[in-house]
Symmetry: C2
Subunit: 197 residues, 2 copies
């Protein structure tokens, strides 16, 4: 039986989850198999099941880990004593950095969550809907305080999140600018346009 | 044999192409069948072939029609005697309106073109690459003239086009704002952020 290479304090289970995220991103959840995952991790398929019950459990973990992180950040930002525009800017930056640094998990949680089973599926749908409402509420608050231009807040959320998901192309691009430059460019475009002069 | 309902000056072939775009959008090109298309159009499958050689020909027509329209618009805008920022604004607006009004064709040409056969596939890839270069060149010209903020132009193109592709969610959304309002919101966010004050 092969051995799982672990780095620092990352557990075997964490390694399996990370490799699963990469595999699901590249092949799609449906097409990916536990056998392939075992090959990538470097163990027998049977021994994966010492750590993980099923392919679906892996998807659950990936999706809910990402959801937790974003909800936690939202809680934090909502409670900060800063302007609404700064809150929005922080939130947008968190999304951008997430897409740059934790691309595989974020991508999978964003594109493959539809393959979750219930009750996880409907639970995550509700979480996503609430998250977007809170995102829009920050924009609405900023409009009320005249920090942000008058626009339709849910539409702005939609536009911002889609623009950020475009970082997918950046990952695939051959001649790419560095991550920090990408981050600043995106903030310039997405926040610059919303700022009320 | 059923009859194809034609409106105004739209030919039978045009009706078939429009219905094909809707079908390809909903099921994906691969999964869609000529039999289904015949059902939707309201004719026998065999009689579709009086107008169209194959499913692939339909995809060719959809993709190249859309490409032609965008290239034609790009030619037109490049030659206008207006500022680079106004050129960019016109171009972005054209993309937004295209996604709102001609959603099915634009969506199919943007998502399903990878299923084209060669030489069409590589031809369209080249056209897409050139189009994005010309798009970036307008932004670069604007930066040089100090009308547009200093950013990485190809990245700005990527962000803008992804944000616009988000109109897909708007089409699926139940409580949506009207198209004109969406258009203005998108211009506010995407062009507002790039404008050099």
């Amino acid at each position: 039986m092969g051995r799982i290479k672990t780095e620092h304090n990352i557990s075997r289970k964490d390694v399996i989850i990370q490799k699963a995220a990469t595999l699901f991103k590249e092949k799609g959840f449906k097409a990916a198999s536990m056998r392939e995952l075992a090959d990538i991790v470097g163990v027998e398929a049977a021994s994966l099941y010492n750590h993980i019950k099923s392919k679906n459990e892996l998807l659950n973990i990936i999706c809910f880990d990402v959801a937790n992180r974003y909800i936690h950040k939202m809680d934090e930002i909502e409670n900060e004593k800063i302007s609404s525009l700064e809150k929005l800017s922080k939130l947008v930056r968190y999304h951008i950095v997430g897409m740059i640094n934790d691309f595989d998990e974020v991508y999978v949680s964003d594109r493959e969550w539809k393959h979750l089973d219930n009750p996880y599926l409907s639970n995550l749908q509700t979480q996503r809907r609430n998250y977007r409402k809170r995102f829009a509420a920050i924009i609405e608050e900023g409009i009320k305080k005249k920090e942000i231009k008058k626009i339709d807040a849910p539409t702005a959320v939609l536009i911002i999140l889609h623009a950020i998901s475009g970082i997918e192309s950046w990952h695939r691009s051959k001649q790419k600018i560095n991550g920090k430059e990408l981050e600043e460019n995106m903030i310039t475009i997405l926040i610059g346009g919303l700022k009320n002069k």
